[in-house]
């Protein structure tokens, strides 16, 4: 089936070009259109810098937590049978299937001063809404499934042979995980972590609803980009921020491409 896929390739490439390629090119042209110094002064404004800082801080909290929970849940789903397993598995689809706006609104309901969680937390002096804590919570929710969804197929394909072998050789559950299971799924974990990071850096809808959009306090980079463009009509600031975020995402993307290649090679090895 070698030489007659040209029409197919043409259609796919055209589609990608219209939807993804050219817009990205335009973004670069526009952001740097007034020269690099203008771009640089835009992205070093205090508001832009604090948005970048918050985005990185949120990622630094949300990604590790979601990684640990994702790996744990993946082990449950792929290696155990228990009542409620399918429910658990399905809950991990909620953040993908449900609009970020709904997630945001739902979080507001739960953590507002009159919500079940919000009331006691407020009494303890903990403000979730309109604070960085809310941003972290919203981000963790939307980026929840990626580690689990990356790992489970690999765990299922891997089978339990190596783990059982380790067990007959005297290893306990913890040692089996660290010495046998984790090394075997490491590329899938990294792939999931990278996706989680991408989703964390880019999240917009849920954060917008939860954060209250307070400049310098709860503005992540995506919110800053939107706010500059939509509310403050600071077009260059918006484009510049978008380019910075896009470049971060591109780095993430490059890592994803490398990891996917590794993982496919692994699959071939397994077959």
């Amino acid at each position: 089936m070698g030489r007659r896929h040209w029409p197919l390739r043409g259609v796919v490439l055209l589609y990608l070009g219209v939807l993804v390629g050219l817009p990205v090119v335009f973004l670069v042209l526009k952001a740097l259109g007034h020269g690099f110094p203008a771009f640089w002064s835009e992205i070093t404004k205090p508001d832009a810098l604090s948005a970048l800082k918050l985005s990185i801080e949120v990622a630094a909290i949300a990604v590790p937590i979601n990684t640990v929970v994702g790996v744990g849940a993946a082990l449950l789903v792929a290696r155990h049978n228990f009542f409620g397993k399918r429910v658990l598995d399905t809950i991990f689809d909620v953040p993908v299937a449900i609009s970020p706006v709904i997630i945001g609104v739902a979080l507001v309901l739960a953590y507002s001063r009159i919500g079940w969680f919000g009331a006691p937390l407020t009494r303890w002096g903990i403000m979730v809404l309109f604070s960085p804590l809310g941003v972290v919570l919203a981000t963790m929710t939307v980026s929840l499934p990626y580690v689990l969804r990356s790992i489970v197929p690999v765990l299922l394909e891997l089978g339990v042979d190596q783990e059982q072998a380790a067990r007959t050789l005297g290893a306990g559950r913890v040692r089996i995980f660290w010495y046998v299971t984790l090394p075997a799924i490491r590329w899938a974990v990294l792939y999931g972590v990278t996706l989680t990071l991408a989703r964390t850096l880019g999240e917009f809808g849920a954060v917008l609803v939860v954060s209250g959009n307070i400049t310098g306090v709860t503005q992540t980079l995506p919110i800053y980009i939107f706010d500059s463009w939509d509310q403050r009509f600071d077009v260059l600031g918006s484009y510049s921020g978008a380019l910075v975020l896009a470049m971060m995402s591109m780095a993430v993307l490059a890592v994803l491409a490398l990891l996917r290649r590794r993982e496919r090679r692994l699959r071939v090895d397994l077959a």
């Binding site: 059982q164 067990r167 007959t168 290893a171 306990g172």
Partner: protein, 315 residues
């Protein structure tokens, strides 16, 4: 160490179940569990190892009831059907894994791994990864890894199944020799009767989760308890309405035979030759001869011959 299995029962789904299996495995023996696929033989092995828990019954190793003991504390060496190598560890790390888990000193581990690699003839591959090994080498690595912990019992699941015919024959020989060297009680599972007959000193024949017959391989071959065992343990044909081994029949002159017939084909397979005869009652049978017997008899297709059972069936 001896193993006794007492009324072991394990169900899941319809196949691979084990139904009320009892057996005694003698200390130091090499026992083959033989049966067609789905007969429950691999499940039986997992029950002995503890990787599966029986629904009923118990496993006793060396007088100690281990039914409730976790596999990691049973001191069992288990070789998986596809060897289950740790793919991200080299051969040395694979073989040393059990000792590392047991917190032996690096020096001791090093010495023991060297010794084992010499035993399985893999010294030159010590730093290789499983992906760089051939099937036979992986198998030997898996054996060394299982032997490293000085197990009381060695369990092998279809140890030669995934290998080429030539490598298979070699490894079979080698496993037998190895067993004579180290004399650890060994149970292996196979669906290949030739393999079982050649390697094992005890056979347990299984079918549909139950033990059909067990004992000395040759005794089972000579005196199968059922037609199933008869057909499973070696080539079978029918003669005068009964199941017979083709080498228990002989070709004689037309007048000496119990029945007469016409030779329809002669196939020479090297050492062995197969002569097919269409009998006067309309059935067809075949006789197994050695090449030397065939050479001395001057047979040809279409010849009329007599067929009878040899008198010395028991010897």
């Amino acid at each position: 160490m001896s193993i006794s299995l007492k009324h072991l029962t394990k169900h899941y789904g319809s196949t691979n179940a084990v139904e009320d299996v009892s057996a005694e495995i003698v200390h130091g023996s090499l026992t083959a569990v033989l049966g067609p696929s789905g007969s429950g033989k691999s499940t039986l092995l997992k029950l002995i190892s503890g990787l599966e828990r029986p629904d009923q019954g118990s496993v006793v190793i060396d007088g100690e009831d281990v039914t409730d003991v976790d596999p990691r504390h049973r001191d069992i060496g288990f070789c998986f059907q596809h060897y289950a190598p740790f793919r991200h560890m080299n051969v040395t790390k694979n073989v040393g894994f059990g000792l590392k888990v047991r917190k032996r000193s690096p020096k001791e581990i090093d010495a023991r791994v060297k010794e084992l690699l010499a035993l399985v003839k893999l010294e030159h591959k010590a730093k290789h990864y499983p992906a760089q090994l051939s099937g036979g080498e992986r198998q030997r690595m898996a054996l060394a890894r299982a032997l490293a912990i000085e197990p009381r019992v060695l369990l092998l699941d279809e140890p030669f199944g995934a290998l080429d015919a030539v490598v298979r024959a070699e490894l079979r020989h080698w496993v037998k020799e190895l067993h004579q060297q180290i004399h650890v009680t060994t149970v292996l599972v196979t669906h290949d009767q030739q393999e079982a007959m050649e390697v094992a000193d005890q056979l347990i024949v299984m079918r549909s989760g139950r033990v059909v017959q067990s004992g000395d391989p040759l005794a089972l071959y000579e005196r199968p308890a059922t037609d199933f065992v008869h057909e499973f343990l070696g080539p079978s044909t029918t003669f005068a309405g009964e199941v017979a081994r083709p080498h228990d029949l002989e070709l004689v002159s037309v007048y000496q035979g119990t029945m007469k017939g016409r030779i329809t084909s002669i196939v020479s397979l090297g050492f062995e030759a197969q002569v097919t005869v269409e009998l006067s009652d309309g059935t067809s049978t075949w006789v197994q001869l050695s090449r030397n017997e065939l050479a001395s008899m001057g047979l040809r297709v279409a010849l009329l011959v007599g067929v009878r059972r040899r008198d010395d069936v028991e010897f």
